[in-house]
Point group: D2
Chain length 401, copies 4
């Protein structure tokens, strides 16, 4: 565990290697957190839930860190207003790295001494891995917002290529078990494992590609209200959506702002950075639909396991790898399932009970995992969730019928 | 059908009998439509979907009525901005009643001649019944907003009384059929009938009462973040919720603004005008949960049928009747189910395909029916839906575990 | 005085003769008040400042009228939120006319008995005349907002015609007296009379016409930022201004929504319904400037007196009359003077001290008077005032250099 | 001139010496610009108006700097949205200092060669001095917003002390000349020099102190609507004003957040960081009024000249010095004069004509100068201007009657 603690914690910092000091502090919209906030918040998590209960004489660098770096745990105390996270120049980046050192030393000592509660450390590491992905999606937004279009990682590898038509996998109707069971780590929202009855369905063996999305655009996808959910169509008009986030038209050709810089849209790559509303409109246009989260999980359980080299911890941000049959590593796949508790679910007591349960309203489940997800953080039962209009995540589309 | 057409159409107007001309035009929030808009829109529905396809020489009182009274059918044309419905003094109330006469005459002639498409007329009548309830919930909001607190119907009957503790009904786990099947009318969103697997559960035999809600308030229900979904807690703080909508504290005692005027809160009546967020917080406080829409439907299918005298078309706005075992007539019951398409559901083609399907996002299903619902409009498979924060409907709470 | 009281009060009601009941209640923007609010507020003014101090047993129709019809007198008590004035169906129009009767009877009795304070009654009547103009500008906005474009007065006379080029009047530099002196009524903001030194200037002998404004538009007036004050240019972009308020382009021709209905823009009439920002941009485009309020007053004092037949109380809404030399009756003329206290000005004590003084910030002075102004309400020292962006008044442009 | 260029430019950088890299990028409200934006914008000014017209082969570090660092010159081109200035991590602080070096070298070469237009360089240096003060007021806001309350300059000197009652100076009525005349530099808005007639008045010989302001607070100044301009009272309620900006109550005692850290409110120092609305309410409470800008200028012309040691370029942020008779160096003094053009004023042609004239609406003139103003930037005719609600400048109050 101690080794794993160091690896995961270190990897968060490795992700920041190419950043300028100024990049760490920017918040370009309410959903985005500054990089340095991610670095501090994940540290505060260990400080609050691992160290403080065990070390009564512990002194934080400032008593205000509780206010500044608590994300949403009401049971711990008040929180600095989320949309003002980018207005704080202090603590500086250096001070936050010092804070990480200080907390890491304490946690590692507790681990060595066998005093640390392993389940909470494990939760903290998974939490850190979630923030690794958020750190990447957020800094992507920060850099893309800047008209100078700074490059995050010039060496980012090209994404997986899908060069043939999608095939349809068939699954028979039946009573299936879904949800997490086993020994490893899983979040509480993946439990209890339970039975669902699912009608027969067919699901695509790969994600929708940019080439296919270009057809949708060319066919008036963004200008035809009949394709859209009502609230989606409102978003199209209000936000002026005419393509996925980060696409821009230059002299008649579509380019995409990536972590590796601005590049022509890669026709054979999976489309990403689309909202649920766009995913649903695309499916309607294609005369099919999106899967439910259970259809997805049943299909994914039968597919190949995550291959190496596809994930952020392989060091390649836009990985090659299998573009078909692959349920992990190309993008978080929108499902048509609202994020709700499983039968028998109950959030835990205390602050950590706020981790998942209280967000189970007005969000949709995404399954799979993206190139910015840690490979060890991936499994068939994992339930990611975002609001239907969110586009800044590596969200993608798999069709079903 | 002709008789039924007249009855339903007439009843909408009967509901308006006590209104002053000025009352017809007010829109107190975006969700509320002015009474006269309801009167005109339901008429426009018949004009557009029944008369115009059959009568090419038909002349509407104004070509602009299509703009003004189209609610959301993009396939028909543009719509007047929803939040500006209350800014139109013309057409006047008299002109709108004239419009009703004109359209009624034409529809009745078509019905007599056997030329009217009965399925669409039937849809139009159910649509009208939905707007009868909306007309009541909207005018309630309009009158309650006014500090003069005008009374809508001084003769409104007292609501059903629940004088004993709730009992729990048990339902075994199993594969159940849900959704509409049969000959009568149902909306497309109730189909297809399909199988769901449901774990064993227990459901309360009556709704939560005002007396119980007062305990929730007294125990800090509205000031304890741990009870709330995250977005619900944000609403509590932003909107300053401290009790159901329409409750007001006067000298330490709670009063409620009803269609019959301001009255002391009736302890034995079902609590109404609460959001899903409040319903969920109450359930959390009570250590239970809300039912899913399928749990509700399975339980309701086994309960007593709607009794007469409980509904708006009985002429009694707050009906007496059985307060227990009763699944209909006391309030629309929030479920924990997001509003989503049933397996195999497809919205129809054309404008009428916009009736239900496009709203299947970010809303929650309510089941049952309220005192403002037409009795003939009630059935176990009926899926009402509103956003989780909505409170101006007669929304109520049934517990499950 | 009693006769005058009746005449003025009656005239307010005469202005409403062509309205439908529904028209009385609409508020199309925050600045607009519903007609029935004007009817009630002017009545409340007499009730509050004339009757109540003298009649301790007076009973208002409702104790809430103080809340509902107090515009801004903090010394009297709280006020209903201004932007919610249009959300009140009650009191009804009939009830408000009854309220007027009741108050009129009481005031008239006091006048006959010689008990009424004449200065306050006189202020109340001037106040009522101000609201007569506001009633007209507000109902114009209400009717023009409605796509059915209802007509207020089909018999409105055509406006004054200016068929020749503007001439420049010269005024020599010198020390001038400005401000009100004399026996008649004037508002406190017109005093004290005092001296100002004014450099030599020239002022146009008529207002800018629609024909001239069309040249401004054709020459890119609304698309050239260099012509505009910075805040004006922001308004142009945010509000999408491309012509005066109420102008609309139909098949390449400009029409104007007037109280007499939609009509082609009258080229020889004075342009109205422009903001100070537009007036200033026009003057910049024409290489001249707007007058200060003192330049205007000095020039107007030498010009012809208001001719009969030009004003609302002549019964002709868009009057004929002299279009040149005329400083009154064609429009309220924007000046470049911020609304500020004259040297030695002090607002009175008590609620009536709130009448004018507290608005002396971020507003600009307009001088003259429009066709909707009462002739008896016009004088060279009158200071009207509105924010620089306001366009719904009959505001016009006179040039200076 | 070359020497002066280096001195002024260097001083801007000296002001930043104590900042962390992270401090340079923050924008805590729309009015505030990040420090690095000030550093870049003042540089862009010289690049655009001095270098580019003379050096056709000049290459900017990026063609986008024109977009990013143009404040409001429409004649030059588009501008990055003002409220998004804080969302740009790049160019970095180092890159902006490099930009300064590059431009400074070019300007200095042109100065040495005698090729630079001296009037524009002089304007640029005065512009830079204005931004030195803005840089300080903005960074004060940034640091005070942070709950860690970082200190800008621990060695800031205490402000001037006023230990006796204010005396009233008398000025007789008369025709006075105001506005700039002479050889030195002045902004175009200070011209033409012209005559104004001013009634006799008395003006205080020192600014209102914090001790006096505490009396105003204690006497209900912030809770008595009768003292306030109407729009000011709206601000009090909306913004929750109860004391000057940066004041905070800790255990019943008032503290003030200064550039030198949080300190007890200094009773004998001039009150600063109040809006015009507060200044006017204070004057009303004290039964006097604020001066007009001409009263101020006439009085100041007879007072002592700015003493050394009172200004930012003396290196002491809160200077000692004469607290009485002193019209400069203690704070920018609100006047009751709207910011308007002097008779005969015309903005210049081209982009530099946008410097002042287009802001002459909805702002009020402040006279004098603060401790953050450069001494060489001070003169009796200087017209500073801000909106009536602005509080983040070093704005102060002098009374008149």
């Amino acid at each position: 565990m101690e080794q794993r603690y160091q690896t995961v914690r270190q990897f968060t910092e490795t992700l920041c290697e190419t950043l300028a000091t100024e990049d760490y502090g920017i918040q370009t919209m309410d959903d985005v957190s500054p990089t340095k906030w991610h670095l501090a918040h994940t540290t505060w998590f260990f400080e609050t839930f691992v160290i403080k209960p065990l070390a009564p004489n512990w002194r934080s660098p400032s008593p205000l860190y509780d206010l500044l770096f608590n994300s949403y745990y009401n049971a711990v105390g008040d929180q600095w207003t989320r949309e003002h996270r980018g207005l704080l120049s202090r603590p500086t980046v250096t001070e936050i790295f010092d804070y990480r050192r200080m907390v890491d030393n304490a946690v590692e000592s507790l681990l060595i001494a066998g005093a640390a509660p392993e389940a909470i450390v494990e939760l903290g590491l998974n939490h850190e891995q979630q923030h690794q992905e958020l750190l990447l999606t957020d800094i992507k937004h920060v850099l893309a917002f800047n008209p100078l279009r700074p490059v995050f990682r010039p060496d980012a590898a090209p994404p997986a290529q899908a060069t043939r038509h999608a095939q349809w996998w068939s699954v028979d109707e039946g009573l299936h078990e879904v949800g997490f069971a086993g020994d490893g780590f899983a979040y509480d929202n993946e439990s209890p494992r339970h039975r669902v009855f699912v009608e027969a369905f067919e699901i695509a063996d790969r994600l929708v590609t940019n080439a296919e999305w270009l057809e949708f655009i060319a066919d008036g996808g963004y200008t035809t209200p009949a394709l859209w959910l009502s609230e989606g169509w409102s978003q199209v008009k209000q936000q002026g959506w005419s393509a996925p986030l980060y696409w821009e038209l230059r002299d008649g050709e579509w380019f995409e702002c990536t972590l590796g810089g601005v590049k022509p849209v890669d026709r054979n790559a999976a489309v990403t950075h689309v909202s649920l509303f766009e995913a649903d409109a695309y499916a309607t246009w294609a005369n099919v639909r999106l899967p439910t989260e259970f259809e997805w999980e049943i299909a994914a359980s039968r597919a190949t396991a995550p291959s190496e080299g596809n994930f952020v911890d392989s060091g390649r941000l836009h990985p090659g790898g299998a573009a078909t049959d692959q349920f992990y590593g190309d993008g978080w796949e929108w499902t048509r399932s609202g994020y709700a508790p499983y039968p028998g679910y109950a959030a835990g007591d205390g602050a950590l009970g706020e981790y998942n349960g209280k967000f189970m309203a007005n969000q949709y489940v995404l399954r799979g995992g993206s190139c910015a997800t840690s490979q060890r953080h991936i499994r068939p039962t994992y339930r990611n969730f975002f609001p239907a209009h969110a586009r800044w995540q590596f969200s993608a589309v798999r069709l079903c019928r």
